[in-house]
Point group: C2
Chain length 551, copies 2
């Protein structure tokens, strides 16, 4: 080896050595970043008003650097190019997506988790983290199913079974649930060795049926579409059922679809109820869905990725009544458990259910081992269960209850203000802590109430442009942020309109901030670029009045 | 609201507020944990010699705590019950799994990543992190495929396509690759709308075939089994092909299987080559596999979760020759890119490939948006690409090359020492930085070389017990750690034996430590509990000698 290579090697070893005391470089970087972060985070949602296209120009070099970079130089890059141009998802004015400020203890605990770098796929690389994760799964299982002590004592650490599975998020949780449902429905039977072994083609032949069907409301999360694609069922076999005026699945239609499907020679594999729809925060009639699933003998899954933690609240948990009858339930920890990004769970009523997807290997996950990896879709996984455990312990049931209750109350208060405001239309009132609305002055709302359907359609097209423009410019201004989506509210006869979407889960979001959001939207509506839209609206309105006079 | 509830609420808000300067509680906790971690990490692999069953007793409470716990109390729990009983995966003596010490800068950068809490599913919650992730994917794509500058300039930030997908690990990466392969093979065609839409049953009818088959060597990772189960193909349609003496897929057998499958009316969907088998670290003949895949017109996936970074080494990259012809390649960042747990990638040769699994929603991932989530299996994801970017920048191509070269050299050196040692048998020599061996004294090896097959079998059964016992006790002693697996080496005519498995990727693992591992195993072999095994072995050996004399 040359002297140069020797020197390089020595440098390399140094970066892998844990400094006994934080050395000056590391310490100062860490400090600089912390200072910068705090300074930045208090001021803006997105610091620099640069287009994505403009930012991209800094990220076009695809050659892997040949020579190492100094950590201090890299830190400058992180500060100037990354931190300064990231999104302040924790800001109390960032109310458009399912993000929030985090409890401060999550940060040092995350650091420990990362420093320990456990791998939860097996006991040999996680030791105590394995029983910890099982305990967390049991706690969440209990929150939903509330089996008795003897049940949990029996199953919590049983190597052959699982009360649930930890994963990177709600999508994997939903897929795991439907994978399990599929494999249970098509389990080994006589000569047929089961779908896991023989595949879907053989399974359908064995069941003598044309397809397996999953039904959920139109408001179901897009991960359900991914799931039926991935599992080989096909998106045609995910039936999106219409909802009632409250964005809850229409039970009559759901039942009709189920029996239609069966008449077509297909099997209903699963009903999916939603506890907290992504776009409007509504809860399906879970009790009635459980009845129907029982009647059909099919799997009942509840996607409570968002709404699950409502169960913490003695005031509001009734809204999820029937969830305890679900065969499986998805809950996201990085949503209303206030854990950092990348932690989800699926819980099962029956501790034997996950056996339907059990798998083993020669070097780990051996039969009889307690390795968690034998019952998870993912392989290697970090010890995020620690953060859920910390939340449950430090915040406690009552703490989470307060958070949930406050969020729902804040959403109701905001809805009241929107209704009372002269310039806005509340589109979907909040059942939990999500609502949608749009800019629609009351004079125009009055016109729409009486105008013929064709005219309403014309107006909605213009309002869509206005909503889209305001949302975009508000986001780019970087002070506050709401998201937007497209819905088909009953009052417009199923016509699809664009709306602002607001999620109120950040406990630091005050009424003043909500007022500022509306205030900013009013200002944006008055800007030059929208004048043309409003002129057209006024003309249409005038036309309506003329028509009415003519009559 | 009662005064009490008011006070609770105030406390709750406090834990969500970022302290302007670290307050004394947070500061001291963070410090205490850091100190404790460093102190602990330098001494043991697993600190307390407690059985898992014993530890489990501390994790049986399934009721979610009603009242909050003080952060300081929780910190005590973390220190005493978690940190003290976790596994020191970074220890240079922990050479049984794919873990290592981490570059120190990963810790402060992880903290930033977690504090920023970006969600990479969409631009609105990630801004600059979206182009950053695309850049990282392009860099890794280039490492494998080395397309020209114009290619990367054209595709790196193109909203309609993707050079790869970031995910939580190799399992999701492999599933994503095979999902894509399946959907491409069964894409829309005439009246058939494609498998994503119509499902596998309709797809097979359309293709007029009996099943889709994936072929890989017996040494393929267990995630391939999960993938064919999940995708509806069935485990029967994953063919595990025998390997040659070097644990590489036997090309003659692979080819025969492919044509047999076709004669049975099935379609070969994909060949999976392995670049660094999990158990033995071998590399399949990728060039020849690429030829065969081309001949068959099927997808060629390479699972380079472990071995991918070998491409950094000018000395060793030839070992992966042919990988640039793969349609898709899996690389794990939490393995030889030295990033903390939970980061993997799948790269595609064709930027349009991932369109086969593209999906959209009304509130995000809209057509034409740059949201990364439209081409990933997972939904919400953290900004781990930052850590890969940091590694590539700070360590650089040459730094990674040194790490790879040193690992391979160290494994070769260790293999030499095992061969020269009187008490050990090298079972699989290292091609990269993984090898397997077992305790098998040379006098016994000499007996086995001449004994009849039946006797060899008898000896192997006893050696298996010895290997298993030594591995278990060494793990429990907590000074050093090797893993174990079961292999069928050619020299024992396909008989399955238990072996120690060693992975040498931690740059801090010195020759002294490797000597200590062997030394400890020799001591464990001499203990009382194994005396009976060795007595039996000596008797068998004596019997063999008597037989030979009798002849």
């Amino acid at each position: 080896m040359t002297d140069n290579a020797q020197a390089n090697l020595k440098n390399l070893y140094r970066i892998f050595t844990i400094p006994e005391a934080p050395d000056s470089t590391l310490g100062s970087i860490d400090q600089a970043i912390t200072d910068n972060l705090a300074g930045f985070l208090q001021e803006h949602i997105v610091a620099l008003e640069r287009d994505l296209e403009e930012i991209e120009r800094d990220f076009v070099d695809t050659a892997i650097p040949e020579q190492p970079t100094f950590v201090s130089d890299y830190t400058e890059f992180v500060k100037k190019k990354l931190v300064a141009q990231s999104v302040h998802t924790a800001s109390p004015g960032f109310i458009g997506h399912m993000t929030s400020a985090m409890p401060y203890f999550m940060l040092p605990l995350s650091r420990i988790m990362i420093a320990l770098n456990q791998n939860l796929v097996k006991v040999e690389t996680s030791k105590v983290f394995t029983p910890l994760e099982r305990q967390v799964l049991a706690m969440l299982n209990r929150l939903i199913y509330n089996h008795d002590d003897a049940f949990y004592q029996r199953w919590i650490h049983d190597s052959q079974s699982a009360l649930g599975a930890f994963c990177s998020g709600g999508t994997i949780a939903n897929i795991t649930a439907l994978w399990t449902a599929r494999n249970q429905l098509c389990g080994p039977d006589g000569d047929f060795q089961g779908i896991a072994q023989e595949g879907l083609f053989a399974a359908l032949k064995h069941l003598n049926c044309e397809g397996l069907v999953v039904l959920a409301s139109r408001r179901g999360h897009y991960s359900l579409g991914k799931a039926v694609d991935l599992l080989g069922l096909g998106r045609d076999n995910l039936i999106a059922v219409d909802t009632d005026d409250n964005s809850r699945v229409d039970m009559r239609q759901l039942r009709n679809h189920c029996y239609r499907v069966q008449n077509e020679g297909k099997r209903v594999m699963a009903l999916v109820g939603i506890a907290g729809t992504t776009e409007t925060g509504n809860v399906d009639p879970l009790e009635e869905m459980a009845d129907l699933a029982e009647e059909l003998g099919c799997h009942f899954h509840v996607d409570a990725a968002w709404g699950g933690p409502t169960l913490f609240s003695e005031t509001h948990r009734w809204r999820l009544r029937g969830i305890e009858r679900a065969d499986s339930v998805t809950i996201d920890a990085h949503k209303q458990l206030y854990v950092p990004m990348g932690a989800g769970m699926v819980l099962f009523k029956d501790p034997a259910a996950l056996s339907a997807i059990e798998h083993h290997a020669a070097y780990i996950l051996r039969h009889g081992s307690k390795d968690l990896g034998s019952h998870t879709l993912e392989g290697s996984r970090p010890g995020k269960a620690l953060l859920v455990h910390a939340g449950l312990s430090i915040i406690g049931r009552r703490g989470y209850e307060l958070l949930i209750d406050q969020g729902i109350a804040r959403a109701q208060g905001f809805a009241d203000r929107i209704v009372a405001h002269d310039d806005f239309e509340l589109v979907t009132p909040p059942e939990l802590n999500i609502l949608t609305y749009r800019y629609n002055p009351s004079w125009l709302q009055r016109v729409m109430a009486q105008a013929p359907e064709e005219t309403v359609k014309e107006i909605n097209i213009l309002l869509d442009q206005i909503t889209q423009m305001i949302q975009k410019e508000q986001r780019e201004a970087g002070k506050t942020f709401v998201s937007r989506t497209r819905l088909e509210p009953a009052r417009y006869h199923g016509e699809t309109i664009t709306v602002f979407r607001v999620v109120l889960a950040n406990p630091l979001t005050s009424d003043d901030i909500l007022d500022a959001v509306l205030q900013e939207q009013c200002e944006l509506a008055r800007q030059e670029s929208l004048r043309d839209c409003f002129d057209q609206l006024r003309q249409i309105a005038a036309g309506c009045r003329v028509e009415r006079l003519a009559l």
